[in-house]
């Protein structure tokens, strides 16, 4: 109650001063380290989200080692490898996009960001073909053909669909975030002096890449 009473007598002139101060502050004291720490804390929650699934994978793999090896042979190694290379390359163009805006090269930054978005789309298109091919062979969640297999294989494909599915969802979210960043870049809201938004989106994109770096050997390279 007291606080509200104290605030009331502020004159129009004073509020104006306050507004000016606030504008000045956002221009001079942009806390970039703070923004990055916030982003990293969020990334750690993502790490735990996927960490739980990796933990489940480990437990089941120890229990059904042979079934996992048999089921793993069904995955398309070529598509998996190509997707790995695409995602790694998209991480490169993301890093280059930030490097370009740091040097004030707006057009180059836009070009690299658009490449990143295109690589992300390519990843999803390949994932789509990979999944539909599996579906045609009767390996879909709850499909009778899959359910007739041994338990370990059912679990392998269950983990495969949930983990690569959650990862693909992150790719889609990354795509949306990066599209917004492209818009900000075009409008100069991201520029040589203020590119923390692009950096933090980059961190998210690299995390998506990091998770795939582990998904790839665990699902596609089982022998």
């Amino acid at each position: 109650m007291e606080k509200i009473e104290l605030r009331e007598p502020i004159s129009a002139n004073q509020t104006n001063d306050l507004a000016v101060n606030q504008v000045a502050e956002t221009h001079h004291h942009k806390d970039e380290v703070g923004a990055k720490i916030g982003m990293w804390l969020f990334l750690f929650t993502e790490l735990l989200l996927f960490g739980g699934l990796f933990l489940l994978y480990m437990a089941y793999r120890l229990q059904y080692t042979n079934d996992f090896i048999i089921a793993g042979q069904e995955l398309n190694l070529v598509m998996g490898t190509v997707n790995t290379i695409i995602l790694l390359t998209s991480s490169l163009t993301m890093a280059l996009s930030i490097a370009a805006i740091q040097r004030g090269k707006k057009n180059l930054s836009i070009l690299f960001l658009i490449s990143t978005i295109l690589f992300a789309l390519a990843f999803l298109v390949i994932k789509y073909f990979e999944w539909t091919e599996k579906f045609h062979h009767g390996i879909a969640p709850n499909a009778p053909e899959l359910l007739s297999k041994p338990n370990g294989e059912i679990i392998f494909f269950g983990m495969y669909y949930s983990m690569t599915g959650l990862h693909a969802l992150h790719v889609v979210i990354g795509l949306i975030v990066l599209s917004f960043m492209l818009f900000f870049l075009l409008r100069n809201r991201i520029n040589e002096n203020d590119y923390i938004k692009l950096e933090n989106s980059g961190l998210y994109w690299h995390l998506v890449d990091l998770i795939w770096i582990f998904l790839f050997p665990l699902f596609y390279l089982i022998h």
Binding site: L55, A95, G202
Partner: protein, 95 residues
């Protein structure tokens, strides 16, 4: 970072070199998976994946050149995750 101090810039060339290493490691891990190393195959694949993620975190995510607090945070997160994995696997093995 102090006010007015320029952030550390990584050159385009460094990024391309990191990318080349990542691609080479990917091709290496795919090639190795064709050879039958038995039980240590998974271990080798995970070591390669770990090396790749160190490269991504250090350079692409810029951690090598960021403040020490970021490295400390990551260490805490990884130790937490590792303890969960170690505790769970001992539970599975000694059940």
């Amino acid at each position: 970072m102090e006010q007015g101090q320029k952030p550390h810039l990584i050159t385009y060339g460094t990024y391309v070199l990191v990318w080349l290493s990542l691609i080479s490691l990917t091709l290496l891990t795919v090639t190795i998976s064709g050879v039958d190393y038995g039980r240590i195959a998974l271990f080798i694949a995970l070591v390669i994946a770990f090396v790749k993620s160190v490269l991504v975190v250090s350079y692409f995510m810029h951690i090598k050149f960021d403040e020490a607090i970021f490295k400390f945070f990551i260490l805490v997160a990884l130790v937490t995750l590792a303890s969960i994995f170690i505790l769970t696997s001992t539970d599975i093995f000694f059940r």
